[in-house]
Symmetry: C2
Subunit: 319 residues, 2 copies
């Protein structure tokens, strides 16, 4: 496979001045609920509030300068667009962000504040709209996941997990198109082959569960999910073989369990993360990933961009 640890190590050297090494936290208050020793990689504390800055920054820093200066564009449910907007601002180039009509206001506002232009469209039209914008502007499309430079950037979070906690038994990662899980699983398996790596995706959109069963990428029907950063309905063609090669399993988590996980993280762990971030905790709550009380299990919390008004739905959920 052409995508290896080396890609990720090069990405790290490139993006190090621009990103945070986010904390890896031990959260013993969650142990009794999850039946393992709970660690979290708090990418919800990353600049722009999500891991996406790692990939976006690596992609932009890998472009030839003359191409970069034409500006960049992206189709994004929010966090990728926000990351690209910030990276463009840091590097002094123009960014245009294509966002679905369903994106929460907090994500739209955050992108506007970063100085990027926003174009909204129906979720299923977002890739076509991005292509049109790029053709009109001459700007470079920065894909959200299906790109080796993006995967390499996201994988730097995996390097940090293993370096900070070399004895980690299991790493669980939110999964949509596969950029984050592709990068993280490559890094973790290269440095610590005995560590298990799992993906967690929304049960309404089981694109990886279905594709791994089929042995090739398949498209699942577009469905709404509370995990609004995980709305891809098909694996990335470059991500799929990487994940197929490295990952020990993928769990399809029910939305109500993801919300319960979010409440647990907030009230017992004292950390705010968006619903999509909590899906890995949901996977263990739902009994979909095997863990035992001695296992050190690291949950990657992918982002923290959630409006306070969204927390109301947690009030009536039992822990």
């Amino acid at each position: 496979m052409s995508f290896t640890l080396e890609n990720i190590q090069q990405a790290r050297a490139r993006i190090a001045p621009y990103i945070l090494q986010t904390p890896l936290l031990r959260l013993p208050a969650l142990d009794p609920y999850l039946g393992c020793q709970v660690y979290v990689k708090a990418e919800c504390m990353q600049i722009t509030g999500a891991f996406k800055l790692r990939g976006a920054m690596n992609k932009m820093l890998s472009l030839p300068r003359e191409q970069l200066e034409q500006g960049v564009a992206a189709a994004s449910s929010g966090n990728h667009g926000r990351a690209l907007s910030y990276a463009a601002k840091m590097l002094g180039v123009r960014a245009t962000i294509i966002m679905p009509d369903t994106a929460p206001p907090v994500k739209l506002d955050a992108i506007r504040e970063l100085g990027a232009e926003i174009v909204q469209c129906a979720p299923q039209d977002r890739y076509a709209t991005a292509d049109r914008v790029c053709a009109e502007q001459g700007s470079v499309l920065v894909p959200p996941f299906n790109d080796e430079d993006i995967m390499a950037g996201q994988g730097t979070a995996g390097l940090e997990i293993v370096e900070r906690c070399p004895e980690v038994d299991t790493v669980i990662v939110p999964l949509s198109g596969g950029g984050l899980l592709g990068g993280v699983s490559t890094a973790v398996k290269a440095l610590s082959p005995n560590t298990k790596v799992y993906g967690a995706e929304p049960a309404p959109l089981p694109r990886y569960s279905a594709s791994l069963a089929q042995g090739e990428p398949v498209t699942v029907p577009q469905q709404p999910t509370i995990a609004d950063a995980l709305i891809g309905n098909r694996p990335g063609s470059l991500c799929f073989p990487v994940i197929q090669a490295h990952v020990d399993g993928v769990a399809a988590v029910d939305d109500p369990v993801t919300l319960r996980a979010m409440k647990l993280l907030l009230t017992q762990g004292k950390l705010l993360a968006e619903p999509s971030s909590c899906i890995g905790i949901g996977a263990v709550l739902q009994g979909l990933i095997p863990v035992s009380p001695e296992d050190k299990v690291c949950f990657l919390l992918s982002g923290g961009n959630v409006g306070l008004e969204q927390l109301r739905i947690l009030e009536d959920i039992p822990l």
Copy 2:
């Protein structure tokens, strides 16, 4: 002064098996709001959700065994009672907790779950009620702050701050009776004399501001405050001289600013802490404590016991 670093070091050895060394986190997302390099000591992640376990556990482990076996009791607005209940359960003795009628349900429930007995009364009657309960039961009163063993236990958080961040310029601590600030200021000034230490108290209950101006402990009128863990109306007689000797200043913070600080910590820092915990951040927001952009400023987040329904009041507060 008889209360020194040595008391705190002995406390640490005693309580180490029972408490967490909570994370010291760098939160750069808060820097632009506060005008300094923001660090937090996350005692909101301590077992039982607050720093209070340090002092309660040290006090109980300092009692003669035959006295401890009579059981313990405390008057508490919540976190001290919760800590004592947990410590009693760990050590296999009975606990009775006297709580004000105004305590939020989340705090009452937490204590009940820990197996302690609860006696409720009006806030101003809580010390008298505790004395009566102890007389009836033969149990030992564990005071919330005005006790050298309590101060020594709380001070262990100060040891951890300086050890984890030796270059810290300023430490800011929530202040009520003075147990936490007394202990932390003693530890910090002994290990790092050039580090500034400040207390932050609610403006409606400025018991330390008034007492320091007067040169002796004075009583201020009991008033309600959003900082419901900081409702003492008079400094502890043992805490006051310690704080007078070590602390660089005390800020009296307006309640609306404390709520703004809580929203900032939650939405930008991704950490959930109770209003009382956020008062130090409020002190800097309100311009009451001098900081500069190069300063490493550590805010002690004293506790995280807050019900989700309480977060609704944050929705309309501007950042």
